[in-house]
Subunit: 340 residues, 2 copies
DNA sequence: CTGAAAGCGCTTACAG
DNA sequence: CTGAAAGCGCTTACAG
């Protein structure tokens, strides 16, 4: 029961069908040159032997054909945005009989490097990566070595590469404009890690909205350190302790939003009457919050799909010019922003 | 720039160092038999050539040694519980230089089958699976064919297999007991898909708590269809429309909880005064809810770690008796259960 | 239309 | 201590 059965190989099938392994391979690969009679015999042998091709051998052998395996480097699998991206990629891969190897590097560049090495030596067809920062040398090296790479969420500053990402500036603009139109004049912005390009784009949108509506920007209420929950908690505390406390907060991602929400709750402030909030990143639990959260929705699933499409194009046409795909965001207006 | 550099192989290194590929392989594998001088020359050649072993060739060749690759079959990557499990598994794999291939089958048995086939033909060392249902034939076949398999969250009814899961019955018992101690006497239970073993165990805990405290069980307020959000919404609506409406709801997983929460919010009922709620599955946003949610925490990360430990044991010792690891749950008491 | 043979990049007995 | 050779399961020119 527990001893591994020997698995059927080309050889098994070949001897069963009374042909050579080359012929079996041809049938498997749909080579039209094979005689019908032979093909049938082989197909029968495949059935009865329960043969499944060995993808490892196929990958080792084949040089030009697709290996049906793509590598994914994700900064944080706990972030629902990336989960949507993964689903988009997987959906497409699944339809192609491709498998996806996910390396979740938890924002750790060392771990990112290890996964790059592993995936490289697994001979994947290509990579979809959210680089840990703007000048990610490991990803650059990958590209310079001739691998097909598509970046998501953020590009590379030194290299022209395929990128798929959200319209961050516009998304931030719309969120802040929404607050302004509701009468808010003193709006804080809790930013993500300043080293990430996305952070800068969202700040730009925040500022642009102020300019557009003729409202003064106060740099003292634009604050950010890291992109995580703790940072959201700390900065919210600082903001709420200010003598001229803001009437609204715009948070730059879902983790920061959560930190802000928890802090507001603890101080027993009413949303939106005492403090309004709008967050970047919509999440599936936003409508179950009390009050439901107004948020900028990123279409992660679409971002994933565009990314893998671009990747397959890049594989087939290594020299085409890099594309820059911007996926629209959408402001989901719910009840966390009203003004007294 | 875009033309793939030829990658260094054993051959490259061997000729650079002036030795045979066998010797290079020995150095790479730490064979102590190699002369120091030779070893150094080879190591130098490895450095200068930028050699990285080809894992595909290694996997094809080696029969008894670890392939450093494990397969993961996850029913729903959107469920934060599984994300925790994945992280636990990955942490361990990372420390071992192993990679993890994730197949997210979205509760679709067909897709599960495809991923099993793919992973099998990738010659993974073993599988960690949450079977789509109690009698999952594809997983059974995998085991019968001699593959190392560990199940998480639920076992297989026809086969004795390694299983790691939460103490579902006790977790449910504690949640319901908590409500009863707060004075609730009419507690509804929104269950998951009745076909999943987990669902039955949680129902058992719910009933046991009632028995233990001498409270009558009303089958009419134990309801469930699927394990998703929509099901949570629908059943909550039915429960709230009842003439003798329950004073509390115990939801069997995080998606159902979310559905219940949204419905309660829409009907503008106050939690916990008008309706109390306790959910199975703690989530990282539970403390940002208003009021913060009382929930049964499953230790997904530990479940993942136990599972991969068991898997490696199973690989080394294919004949040891199947283990059944139960990981404790923990009731996180917050503010959603108080009674008037 | 089909088969024999080379080779992808490794590991591992077997000689020496 | 080291090398030549076989072989893992495939694919693909090359003959015939």
């Amino acid at each position: 029961m527990k001893t591994a059965k020997t698995v059927a190989s080309l050889k098994t099938v070949a001897s069963l069908a009374g042909v050579s392994i080359a012929t079996v391979s041809r049938v498997l690969n749909g080579d039209p040159v094979v005689k019908d009679e032979t093909r049938l015999a082989v197909q029968r042998a495949i059935k009865t032997s329960g043969y499944h091709p060995n993808r490892v051998a196929q990958r080792l052998r084949s040089t030009n054909r697709s290996k049906k395996l793509i590598g994914l480097l994700i900064p944080d699998i706990q972030n629902p945005f990336y989960v949507d991206v993964i689903r988009g990629i997987e959906e497409y891969a699944y339809a192609n009989g491709s498998a996806v190897v996910i390396g979740n590097f938890s924002q750790d560049p060392k771990r990112e490097k290890l996964y790059i090495d592993i995936l490289r030596s697994e001979s994947v067809d290509g990579f979809i990566v959210a680089p840990s920062h703007g000048k990610d040398q490991d990803v650059e090296e990958l590209i310079n070595d001739g691998h097909a790479v598509v970046c998501i969420d953020r590009g590379l500053s030194n290299l022209n590469v395929d990128v798929v990402k959200s319209d961050n500036e516009k998304g931030a603009f719309n969120a802040v404009a929404h607050l302004i139109k509701l009468g808010h004049k003193r709006i804080a912005h809790i930013t993500g890690d300043p080293a990430i390009p996305t952070t800068q784009e969202r700040i730009a949108g925040y500022i642009a909205a102020h300019k557009h509506y003729g409202i003064r920007v106060d740099q003292k209420i634009i604050k950010g350190k890291e992109s995580n929950f703790i940072s959201g908690v700390e900065i919210t505390k600082q903001l709420l302790a200010l003598p001229d406390r803001p009437t609204a907060i715009f948070t730059a991602n879902n983790l920061l939003t959560l930190g802000a929400l928890e802090t507001i709750l603890q101080q027993e402030l009413k949303i939106p009457e005492e403090i309004a909030i709008v967050g970047f990143d919509d999440v599936y639990w936003a409508t179950s919050l009390n009050p439901p959260l107004t948020a900028v929705r990123q279409h992660g699933f679409e971002i994933g799909q565009r990314a893998i499409e671009l990747l397959y194009q890049r594989i087939q046409q290594p020299d085409r010019l890099p594309a820059n795909v911007i996926v629209k965001t959408e402001l989901m207006i719910r009840r966390s922003c009203g003004f007294k």
